[in-house]
Each structure stands twice: as structure tokens, then as C-alpha cells.
């Protein structure tokens, strides 16, 4: 147990064993999958039409946003070229599904249906449609285990969008939220501030939303502020997530990415 906690030797053993366990996970997940499929195929036609119309409208909206985004991205690249800072490439993403498999209750972990066959690696960032969800901690051949940002063993470097103050958001398993550690009292952080991943440490890609500051307090006599953060990702309800491969130039900064964001 000590070896597993402190060292990486057993990771290969675990990933081989997870192939043995995968059929069990698959079987457990099967009824949920079948239920989903049934409810999808039995849905009324009007509902489907309605949903289709809604999605079309949303798609149109998103497309117009993307147009703007492309010109902005080009402009950004040009400006970066002017000041000779490295140009960031886009990230590669892969959609993964949750598997309905119960995990140990003391930690916030989940199983995804993609594994090393799909190129998933340990420490890979996981995001959903609204923000960062967590990172991959174990990889098997066709499934992998993710750890949520609210797990008490998880930490992620963040940046306040409004003021640019940097901090580290650590998970709080018990209350399903996060806290910012070691933020001096004079820092410019307010309630409602949006935190995005800062990309420092070269582990999480830069600029993904992480959480909103829900409470800022300073106890007299304390050296640091007490800051609570609510994650913006739908941690409880997510069914589909994105696995992100950060662009190469970001990763090169850090030689050992596995150790950066986990404490």
C-alpha cells in the first residue's frame, strides 16, 4: 500500500488488472446503457422535433461565435508573433462517456470509457461543456479513472480573470467544493470572481474556467485569506466529457507532468 501511494511501480500492475476488471465494469454499466438507448428510441416524435429545432438554433448561435473566435485567434497569433512569444496551437480533444460504476465514497473519482487504446495518459486534463472537471489518474486498456477537481488530493493552478491574481485551487472532498490556499490578504479577489486555469505547471491548458469564488473571508490574526470556490463544471450531472491533449509547446515546459497538479 505504501508502495502504491508513494511510488509509480504499481501503476502498470493496476493498468493490467483494470483490463481484468473491465468486463465487470462493462456489465454493471450495461443496464444503464440499455435504459438510455430505450428512452432515446422510444421518445415521442414531437419531442425529438422540438429538440432538433432547439439544437439547430443553438448551433447557429455557436457558429456565429466561432466566426468571431477565428478572427480573434488569428489576430492573437499575429500579435504574439509581433512580441515574439510562442504561438499556441489548438488542443486535440476526444469525447468520452461516463461509465455508471460506483467508486470508493471517500474520494471523488469516476470511470471513463476511453483508455490507453485511445491514447489517454495519466495526468490528462478532463473538461466538460462548462469547465475543468479533473484529470486522469489511472489508465487501463479501454477504460480510465478520473479524479475530480473537488477531490482532496487534487490541486490546480488558477488565475482570477478580472485581476490576474494567481493561486492554487485545492479540492475539498467533504463539501464538494474547492479552496484557494495561501492567498495573502492584500490580493484582489472578490466574491463572484471567475477563476480559469492558468496553465502554469504546463499540465492543464490555459484559460479553461475552473470555478467561481463563493466566499472570501479573513479571520483576524490569520496570514492568509479563506477563499471558497464553487466548481463551474457539472460535476454531479455530467454524462459526457472531453479529454484534452494540450498543445505541445505548453507541455514542454514541465518535464514531469504527472507530479505537478497532484499534491
Amino acid at each position: 500500500m505504501t508502495v502504491d501511494r508513494k511510488m509509480d511501480y504499481l501503476e502498470t500492475v493496476r493498468s493490467h488488472l483494470s483490463s481484468v476488471v473491465y468486463p465487470i465494469q462493462y456489465l454493471v454499466n450495461l443496464p444503464v446503457k440499455v435504459g438510455d438507448w430505450m428512452s432515446e428510441s422510444l421518445e415521442a416524435r414531437e419531442n425529438l422535433l422540438k429538440e432538433n429545432a432547439k439544437l439547430k438554433a443553438q448551433n447557429l448561435l455557436l457558429k456565429t461565435h466561432t466566426q468571431k473566435y477565428q478572427s480573434l485567434a488569428l489576430e492573437n497569433q499575429r500579435l504574439r508573433g509581433l512580441i515574439e512569444s510562442p504561438i499556441r496551437q489548438g488542443e486535440r480533444v476526444l469525447v468520452a462517456d461516463f461509465m455508471a460504476v460506483e467508486q470508493e465514497s471517500s474520494s471523488h473519482k469516476f470511470i471513463l470509457n476511453k483508455g490507453s487504446k485511445n491514447g489517454v495518459y495519466i495526468g490528462q486534463p478532463i473538461v466538460d461543456s462548462s469547465g475543468v472537471m479533473g484529470q486522469v489518474v489511472h489508465v487501463g486498456a479501454s477504460s480510465s479513472t478520473g479524479m475530480m477537481i473537488t477531490d482532496s488530493e487534487h490541486a490546480i493552478p488558477v488565475e482570477v480573470v478580472r485581476s490576474g491574481v494567481r493561486a492554487i485551487a485545492t479540492g475539498e472532498s467533504i463539501r464538494q467544493e474547492m479552496r484557494l490556499d495561501y492567498v495573502p490578504p492584500e490580493s484582489d479577489i472578490q466574491e463572484g470572481d471567475l477563476l480559469v486555469s492558468s496553465g502554469l505547471g504546463g499540465h492543464f491548458p490555459e484559460g479553461y474556467p475552473v470555478g467561481k469564488v463563493s466566499e472570501v473571508s479573513l479571520h483576524p490574526g490569520d496570514n492568509f485569506m479563506m477563499i471558497k470556490v464553487q466548481p463551474v463544471a457539472n460535476l454531479a450531472k455530467a454524462r459526457e466529457v472531453l479529454l484534452v491533449w494540450p498543445s505541445v509547446s505548453d507541455v514542454d515546459i514541465e518535464s514531469d507532468p504527472g507530479k505537478v497538479a497532484t499534491r
Binding site: 502504491d4 476488471v21 454493471v28 460504476v101
Partner: protein, 160 residues
């Protein structure tokens, strides 16, 4: 009579126990989930102590650790201890009526859960309440049924 080798049945019960452990349930029930794997290990190491013993329990525990994403060895050491005690005492326990067996199972499951929670505490995940002991109660209540079912399975499969 020709001796038949139906030991795969034992394997099937272990797999079913693992599945029951991994099955997603509503939050309020999850706390009450019986320690299925521990109970099945207790049954088989009581019925077939020469076949199912500490080694099997340990390997099953490792699988459970992988399945649950806990530290490798956490469940393994718990189940190994459960199997050890059961094998040591199997001749006595077999004589007891079902409700007394339930008490014994409850005690073992309590030890098993406490060990896991203890390790969790060491690595910085202290338990939030005494609710981690709830499975002791459900395991005790379900033991008579599990015992009868597994005994029938064993007799049908002619394992001894």
C-alpha cells in the same frame, strides 16, 4: 460417483459480488450497501476452507481495489484477514445457528471496514461520520439469505 469440478461456480459468485459492489445506487442507499465481497468470501472460506482461503481473498481484494480506485492492497488486506479468521474458526461457525453466524459476520465486516477506513485516515481521507459502519447492519441482516442461497448453489453444483 464421478467427481465433478464445478469450481467455476465459486468464481461466478465472486464476479456477481464484485458487480453488486460496483453497481450505482442512489446516494442515500449507497451508505447501506452490504459488504458483498466480504460476505461471499466468508461463506466460501467457511464451506471450502481448503479451496478458498487467504490467497483467493487477497487476490479478490486487489481486484476490488482496482475496481474502486482505492489504494492497491487496502481491500486485499481486509479480505485476507477476514478469510484468515474464518478459516481458523470454520469448524465452530458451521455449527452455529444462522443468527449467531450473522453476529460473527457482522463482527468480521466491522473489522474489515474499520481497517479500510483506518488506512484512508492515514493517507489523509478521514471518515466524515460513523456511517461507514452502516454496511455492518445490512450485511448481518442479509447473511441468512445469502447463506441459504449460496448453500443451495453449492449443493446443486455438487461442490464440497
Amino acid at each position: 460417483m464421478v467427481k465433478r469440478h464445478n469450481y467455476w461456480i465459486v468464481l461466478v459468485t465472486f464476479i456477481v459480488a464484485l458487480m453488486l459492489t460496483a453497481m450505482p445506487l442512489p446516494d442515500w442507499i449507497t451508505v447501506w450497501r452490504p459488504a458483498w465481497v466480504a460476505m461471499v468470501v466468508i461463506y466460501w472460506s467457511m464451506a471450502l476452507p481448503q479451496r478458498v482461503s487467504i490467497g483467493t481473498a487477497w487476490f479478490l481484494g486487489i481486484l476490488l481495489d482496482v475496481l474502486q480506485g482505492s489504494l492497491l492492497g487496502q481491500h486485499a488486506i481486509g479480505l485476507a484477514i477476514v478469510a484468515y479468521v474464518t478459516v481458523k474458526l470454520h469448524l465452530q461457525i458451521r455449527q452455529h445457528p444462522l443468527y449467531q453466524q450473522s453476529l460473527f459476520v457482522g463482527l468480521l465486516v466491522a473489522v474489515y471496514l474499520s481497517l479500510i477506513v483506518w488506512v484512508n485516515g492515514i493517507i489523509g481521507r478521514p471518515p466524515q461520520s460513523w456511517s461507514f459502519l452502516m454496511p455492518v447492519i445490512t450485511s448481518m441482516l442479509l447473511w441468512p439469505w445469502l447463506f441459504v442461497i449460496l448453500r443451495d448453489v453449492r449443493r446443486r453444483a455438487l461442490i464440497s
